[in-house]
């Protein structure tokens, strides 16, 4: 993966730049020692690494303002960072960039149950937002698998999803307002505790803009009352195709579960070995979860299991206790970690129309054989958001390149069948150069025009999202 050549004039000014940053931030908020900047050299896409020139950890919105004004005046590229869990390289620095991390901005500012909204600083982790309201039986709905570690800032930047977004939507559907610091160092309030801000939906375009339009320091998030109960049912099938057909039938039948998760055999085995979740050893496993009171759960599960039975499942098992339910989800959420125990892997997240599921799974299998690398599948089947995990050996020369080539083919396949390159992880550097398979140059130019308005010098996370060649002149003008 190509990254821009760092600006030698910036590298040469490192001491002066660091001294400048120390003038506007407390000493312990500026990290410049090469041993320490290494902590910021990569995110969840660990195959690519490059320590930044320096990393700063502001504690207030005003400090973010001061830092961005300084960086703008100095012409320094800025790479915003939440917790660094991006799987797409969204927080990967360049050697001439300043990492602006929001880790110290982690307070809850206001909790308002009557109006169903919480105001937090964006360095707060996803799970700890729910943690702040669960005593009142509320929760924050988007639940990416990395929710223990990932920050709200990163969730907003990538418009993160999760297993339960079939019912509750992704970050953008649960984000009511933000405090945004622009590259000019202006503080802009978008939205708030009321719905649907006036004017253009700037909050909508900001969410998912991968840190390229500004740095979000505070967010108002929609919180919801927890359902009375929830219960998953496990369904095992002896073919991926039948499992895919079952998903489509459930959706068509008019009962919308809160989650429909899909795992194939390699993934089931890895998770089972890692977590002992009690998964059956089958070709394809569905975890279907419904919510409500005891009677409501029963009413929904009766309908869903009746549909499943028409597909002759090898196994059909409702969770019998809350412990068992927790274990079932623990297995699913540990899928990436479990695969990581046995192999290096690359995780893709293209989305496809649900109707194309059987065809795409078959085609992935063919591609996997063709490229000689195994692929395990675990994904959000209800909304067609695939997660093929390509297994490779990072120590074997050439394997990463084969893996990336296979990954590109799978993503092109997703686009060909009417889907997209990324459903919830973002483009980052990983899918940057594939953008033209999904969009025309004109389509991309329209997106870049938005960045031109927010950040005319292209200083914010400049080498991400768009093919490097298309952004070259803009970046060079910085």
């Amino acid at each position: 993966m190509e990254m821009p050549v760092p600006d030698a004039s910036i590298l040469a000014r490192k001491d002066q730049i660091v001294a400048g940053l120390r003038q506007i931030l407390p000493d312990d908020a500026v990290i410049s020692d090469p041993n320490e900047t290494r902590a910021y050299e990569c995110d969840g896409l660990a195959a690519y690494r490059c320590p930044p020139l320096a990393a700063v950890l502001p504690s207030t919105t005003q400090e973010v303002v001061d830092v961005l004004k300084f960086c703008k005046a100095q012409g320094l590229p800025v790479v915003p960072r939440g917790s660094g869990t991006s799987l797409a390289g969204g927080a990967l620095p360049t050697a001439d960039s300043i990492i602006v991390g929001v880790a110290r901005l982690n307070d809850v500012l206001e909790t308002d149950y009557a109006n169903r909204v919480i105001r937090v600083q964006t360095g707060r982790t996803n799970l700890s937002v729910t943690g702040a309201v669960e005593d009142h039986d509320f929760f924050y709905a988007p639940d990416p698998s990395s929710q223990l570690a990932c920050a709200i800032a990163g969730n907003i930047a990538m418009n993160s999803g999760g297993a339960h977004c079939l019912k509750y939507g992704v970050t953008t559907n649960n984000l009511l307002g933000v405090t945004l610091v622009t590259m000019d160092g202006e503080v802009v309030e978008l939205g708030g505790a009321h719905l649907d801000a006036p004017g253009y939906d700037l909050l909508g375009v900001l969410c998912g803009s991968e840190g390229q339009l500004g740095i979000v320091t505070e967010a108002s998030l929609r919180i919801l009352r927890k359902p009375e109960g929830a219960r998953p049912v496990l369904m095992g099938f002896d073919s991926n195709e039948v499992a895919g057909a079952c998903v489509s039938d459930i959706i068509k039948a008019g009962v919308l579960p809160v989650a429909i998760e899909f795992m194939d055999r390699p993934c089931i085995r890895a998770c089972e070995a890692f977590v002992h979740a009690g998964y059956p050893d089958v070709e394809a496993l569905l975890i279907v979860e419904v919510e409500g009171s005891e009677a409501e759960i029963k009413e929904q599960l009766d309908k869903i299991t009746a549909i499943a039975r028409t597909h002759n499942p090898v196994e059909l098992r409702e969770s019998a206790s809350s412990d068992e339910s927790a274990l079932i989800w623990k297995g699913r959420k540990a899928a990436f970690g479990a695969m990581g125990q046995i192999n290096d892997y690359m995780c893709l997240d293209g989305t496809i129309p649900v109707s194309q599921l059987p065809f795409v799974l078959r085609r992935i299998e063919e591609l996997s054989k063709e490229f000689g690398l195994d692929v395990a599948n675990v994904f959000h089947a209800g909304d067609g958001n695939m997660h093929p995990l390509i297994l490779f050996d990072a120590n074997k020369p050439g394997d990463l390149e084969i893996c990336e080539a296979l990954g590109a083919e799978i993503l092109k396949l997703c686009v060909e069948v009417g889907g997209c390159l990324t459903g919830e992880h973002g483009v980052g550097i990983e899918k940057r150069d594939l953008m033209l398979t999904q969009y025309t140059e004109g389509d991309i130019a329209a997106q870049m025009a938005v960045k031109d308005v927010f950040d005319p010098q292209w200083l914010l996370n400049p080498a991400k999202v768009f093919p490097l060649a298309t952004t070259e002149t803009r970046r060079a003008a910085a």
Binding site: N115, L190, G192, V205, K226, E299, G418, V453
Partner: protein, 381 residues
């Protein structure tokens, strides 16, 4: 003069060769929204028809000029629906004609279910449009999870055609409810009503509508909470809410499908605000600020006001030429002047004024997407 292209390419050609402002129109039923635009009419009604509908993928794609009714009928035949329940503005504006799906998106029109299922922008998953330079563009697609590049889908929704003319829109749809119940309380004050609605919305019962009419059909206050879903589940939740809210009086529970449909269509279309004189203002506030806004509106001489979204959406009928925005004084949120004479709109501003940094960003975007200022110039102020 009216342009009526039959394809995106024809539409692009019209824009590319236009030398003056274009007034973009679908069915014309919402032409009262925004500021009046002078210019040749560019109608998208020729871009009509459903191009893809996959019930098993909960996805529908249609031309911008497709009548809303055509889409709703297609969905309904498969037991599905548009989640966000778009308002029909014909009653309010006294307009005739056929509302189109492009108009719904351009004006970001949502209804009572917005609080539970999201707004129009939340269901919209893809757009095709022609920008002010005549370029045919797309964003998003036909899958419900998509973070590939910037989300211009959201930007186009509610842009009133000023950043591009929509030619095709794609939605995530949802199963229609098997059963509906409306739990109704009579005679509550605005403050009590918001308390009841807040209780419903913070309960685990998945409330999909919460409205309060200080003057209901018989002139007395009625507070309504809607529950939708499987039959037994709806009955259980209606009973639970009725019990929990008994201190506000004995609730009436309406379970008839047609009756519930009529009740919520009335809320959605602000029945009672149509065919009257006076100006209509629409407010979006923090729900528990609703009653305070209601009091301020009464002081301003409001003849009528109504709450939706648990108190967060307030409609008011004010004497002609009133500064309805001033009623927001000290509260957050924003006010839009929906129906008034042009001079009133010019005097008070149709849309809420944007702070300077936001106004700069908005005009910057307009300059990028429509550098010649051809598309609905001035409609958003």
């Amino acid at each position: 003069m009216t342009h009526m292209p039959n394809s995106s390419a024809e539409l692009a050609e019209i824009i590319a060769t236009a030398d003056g402002p274009l007034r973009v129109e679908g069915g014309g039923t919402r032409s009262g929204l925004g500021n009046r635009v002078e210019g040749e009419v560019l109608s998208v009604s020729g871009l009509s028809g459903i191009s893809l509908y996959e019930p098993g993928a909960l996805t529908i794609v249609a031309g911008a000029g497709t009548p809303v009714q055509v889409i709703e009928d297609a969905l309904s035949s498969e037991g599905q629906r548009l989640p966000f329940e778009p308002m029909d503005h014909r009653g309010l504006f006294g307009t005739k004609g056929v509302p189109t799906i492009g108009g719904v998106v351009a004006c970001a029109v949502s209804g009572p279910r917005r609080i539970q299922a999201g707004a129009c922008r939340d269901s919209l998953i893809g757009v095709k449009f022609v920008d002010g330079k005549g370029a045919q563009l797309k964003n998003g697609g036909r899958v419900m999870k998509n973070v590939t590049g910037y989300d211009l889908v959201k930007l186009m929704c509610g842009a009133y055609g000023t950043l591009g003319v929509l030619t095709e829109v794609a939605f995530k749809v949802l199963p229609a409810a098997e059963a509906t119940a409306t739990v109704m309380f009579d005679g509550l004050t605005d403050v009590q009503a918001v308390e009841v609605m807040s209780h419903g919305l913070t309960s685990p019962y998945d409330v999909s509508g919460a409205a309060h009419l200080p003057a209901g059909p018989d002139g007395t206050p009625v507070t309504m909470i809607r529950l939708e879903g499987l039959t037994q589940s709806v009955a259980y939740r209606a009973m639970s809410l009725t019990e929990q809210l008994a201190r506000f009086g004995q609730a009436r529970v309406e379970t008839g499908a047609d009756a519930c449909k009529a009740i919520w269509a009335g809320v959605r279309d602000v029945e009672g605000f149509g065919g009257t004189g006076g100006d209509v203002w629409r407010y979006s506030v923090k729900p528990d600020d609703g009653p305070e806004l209601g009091r301020a509106l009464a002081r301003k001489g409001a003849q009528r006001h109504a709450y939706d979204w648990g108190g967060g959406l307030v409609w008011a009928l004010l004497p002609e030429g009133s500064d309805g925005r001033a009623a927001l004084d000290g509260l957050g949120g924003h006010a839009t002047l929906i129906r008034a004479e042009d001079q009133t709109k010019a005097r008070f501003g149709t849309f809420h004024p944007e702070p300077a940094p936001l106004a700069r960003i908005s005009s910057g975007l307009r300059a990028k997407f429509d550098p010649k200022g051809l598309l609905n110039p001035g409609i958003m102020g």
